[in-house]
């Protein structure tokens, strides 16, 4: 929902400061460590392409629905027209929208994969995001493959209004059919997994994994603080908080994700 145009894994120089502990890291080292800090385990936000490269067997990712682009169903204009916002994001990221879907292999196991892209309007969910995810789930159902979702999102794409909200229903309905067909659905919550995405497909995994210290929750912390008029507890709405309260199965370091997903598929996949 919020476009914090943060710098996402596009470091320029040789050195980089860890956002978690402030430690100076050799960029090469950071990259080899999948953009996690070897000192404090801080997991930096990464874009969808980097994620796919890290997660999938080399050259195995085969993208589909790459060319779907958003229309502007509401003809929405705030300070900037929505169509211009989209154009600017496309130019900035080189992506058409905030999710990338396709077929891939993870440690030799075929899966349908969806990766949300926090670099694109904080992976907010509009019609194209919903369509691509729904289609990916339907494909996983048809091909009887596990579905892996790397979730991240600031929430609804406000500029698409109710069109955006409906994506929660569409994706969840497709997951019901996938579930009926016995499909294995693995969610990986990454920073941040919130609002409409959290309250739909990101919470419906057979298994829900989360990267350490990711923000995972429904309502915005400021809204909550204003409502309850008290200080929010330490670590509120984090992966660890969700684990403690029983809504995440495992917290998994980025460097272990491939292994963990492979293992789950071996136990549950067909």
């Amino acid at each position: 929902m919020i476009d914090r145009s943060e710098r996402i894994d596009v470091p320029k120089g040789k050195w980089d400061r860890c956002e978690g502990c402030g430690h100076m890291l050799f960029h090469r080292e950071l990259q080899e460590n999948l953009f996690t800090c070897p000192k404090c385990d801080h997991h930096r936000r990464i874009n969808a392409r980097t994620r796919i490269e890290q997660l999938c067997d080399p050259e195995s990712f085969e993208e589909f629905l790459k060319d779907l682009v958003p229309t502007d169903p509401l003809k929405f204009k705030d300070r900037v027209p929505y169509s211009e916002r989209i154009k600017a994001q496309q130019d900035k990221t080189g992506e058409t929208e905030a999710v990338v879907v396709g077929k891939a292999y993870i440690r030799g196991r075929p899966v349908i994969l969806a990766v949300m892209n926090p670099a694109f309007i904080m992976a907010s969910m509009g019609s194209v995001v919903g369509e691509k995810i729904t289609s990916a789930i339907e494909r996983a159902t048809d091909e009887a493959l596990p579905f892996v979702m790397v979730a991240a999102s600031g929430g609804a794409r406000m500029q698409e209004g109710m069109v955006s909200l409906m994506q929660m229903a569409r994706t969840s309905a497709a997951l019901a059919r996938f579930d009926d067909a016995g499909g294995l659905y693995i969610v990986v919550c990454t920073d941040p997994t919130t609002a409409g995405v959290a309250a739909s497909f990101a919470s419906l995994g057979d298994l829900i994994l989360a990267e350490p210290k990711a923000m995972v929750g429904f309502a915005g912390p400021r809204v909550i603080a204003n409502t309850v008029k008290q200080e929010l507890p330490e670590g509120f709405q984090s992966s660890e908080f969700m684990l403690e309260h029983g809504f995440v199965d495992r917290i998994v370091s980025r460097t272990d994700l491939r292994k963990e997903i492979g293992r789950i598929i071996d136990y549950c996949g067909k």
Partner: protein, 376 residues
């Protein structure tokens, strides 16, 4: 219909409080009428002709004002302090309502009421948000903002409906799910998500209506079904106009503009193919005639359920999936002619005809516009 009055009824004698900011012209006439009535009583002079004219003018003006409500005015009407709430419909439209409590997991959330009842000839399970009427009730039910246990209670009621072959009727009226610490601790995301998934495959008809405020995921959490309607002056939005203004315009002042931009009225959402019907309200809004409003809603549910009950479960679920699959489907292919949007398959053969069915001047509700022959 039984005539038991409930918390929802009002307006027998309108006061300043029942008039909204934009209704000032109406309130002035109202005051004139009151003055004349007093004069007539005190002085014994006959003002009946003037009174008749004034009442006529009040009626015409109300009609004119309400036929062109702006989006923001609609928001105000939908949030009107005297607008009928779920308990009103449970006491009028629903006969023999039998409430059931609790989610069998944590507690009983008063923000969502569930229970058995009859609507017309149909035995149903009813689920509805309750915002509360007076201060103590409002606090008890968190102004209609439900916690996870509310959504789980609703799901429990739905599963029971499925088991015993009862259709489900949902009344939506909430600002949104409760944004609180406990709600997050008990998995509000999960509770809503599970409802979306389960409602899409529940093996019994589901009909929903936004009766007042449709606030984002908290509304959708009991808002997935075979048919979704909205009252004429209700609204349904992904975010409140105030919230949207604060985020996109960095100031709450732009809430009117935000309301307009969000396309949150029934008419707009009909056009966007997100709802199926608009239910007409009495002239001047539901709060001016709660009983007539309940009668319209009763007719909508009675007719819809009669149609839906004719489907075999497989057909019902297939049609429901197609309906949900087609919701909010707007995109185009970059590689093709960028001018031609690919709006994925229409939801039904009749999806293109008369989407807007608000007709003026009548209290009757709109017809079901979709043809509804059982397909198998």
């Amino acid at each position: 219909m039984n005539n038991s009055t409930s918390t929802g009824t009002a307006m027998a004698s309108a006061s300043a409080a029942s008039y909204l900011e934009f209704e000032k012209p109406l309130y002035r006439i109202h005051l004139e009428i009151e003055q004349l009535e007093r004069d007539q009583l005190d002085g014994g002079r006959d003002f009946s002709k003037d009174l008749k004219d004034l009442r006529q003018r009040l009626k015409q003006m109300t009609k004119r004002l309400y036929s062109h409500l702006t989006a923001w005015e609609t928001v105000l009407v939908a949030r009107h302090p005297q607008r009928p709430l779920s308990p009103h419909y449970l006491g009028t439209m629903v006969r023999d309502f039998c409430e059931i409590h609790g989610d069998r997991l944590y507690g009983d959330d008063k923000a969502i009421i569930t229970g058995f009842g009859r609507i017309g000839p149909h035995k149903v399970i009813v689920i509805g948000h309750n915002k509360g009427r007076d201060t103590s009730e409002r606090i008890a039910c968190n102004f209609g903002c439900a916690h996870p246990e509310g959504y789980r209670k609703a799901l429990r009621a739905m599963k029971m409906a499925e088991k015993f072959g009862l259709p489900v009727v949902c009344l939506i009226d909430t600002q949104g799910a409760y944004p609180g610490i406990g709600a997050e601790e008990r998995g509000i995301s999960s509770a809503i998500a599970v409802n979306l998934r389960e409602m899409s495959r529940l093996k019994t008809p589901i009909v929903c209506c936004v009766i007042g405020e449709g606030g984002s995921g908290g509304a959708l959490g009991i808002g997935v079904g075979d048919r979704v309607a909205m009252f004429e002056h209700s609204f349904y939005s992904v975010i409140s106009p105030e919230g949207c203004a604060a985020i996109l315009w960095r100031t709450g002042e732009q809430r009117k503009l935000a309301a307009e931009s969000l396309k949150l009225t029934a008419k707009d959402l009909m056009r966007l193919n997100i709802i199926d019907s608009v239910i007409k309200e009495p002239m001047g809004g539901a709060h001016r005639d709660p009983m007539a409003t309940a009668a319209s809603l009763e007719k909508y549910f009675t007719d819809s359920l009669r149609d839906l009950k004719r489907y075999k479960v497989d057909t019902l679920l297939r049609k429901r999936y197609e309906r949900i699959r087609g919701l909010g489907s707007f995109f185009e292919k970059a590689s093709e002619n960028a001018k031609e949007p690919v709006e994925s398959k229409p939801r039904s053969p009749s999806a293109s005809d008369s989407k807007i069915s608000v007709k003026s001047g009548s209290r009757s509700m709109t017809g079901m516009k979709r043809s509804s022959q059982p397909a198998s």
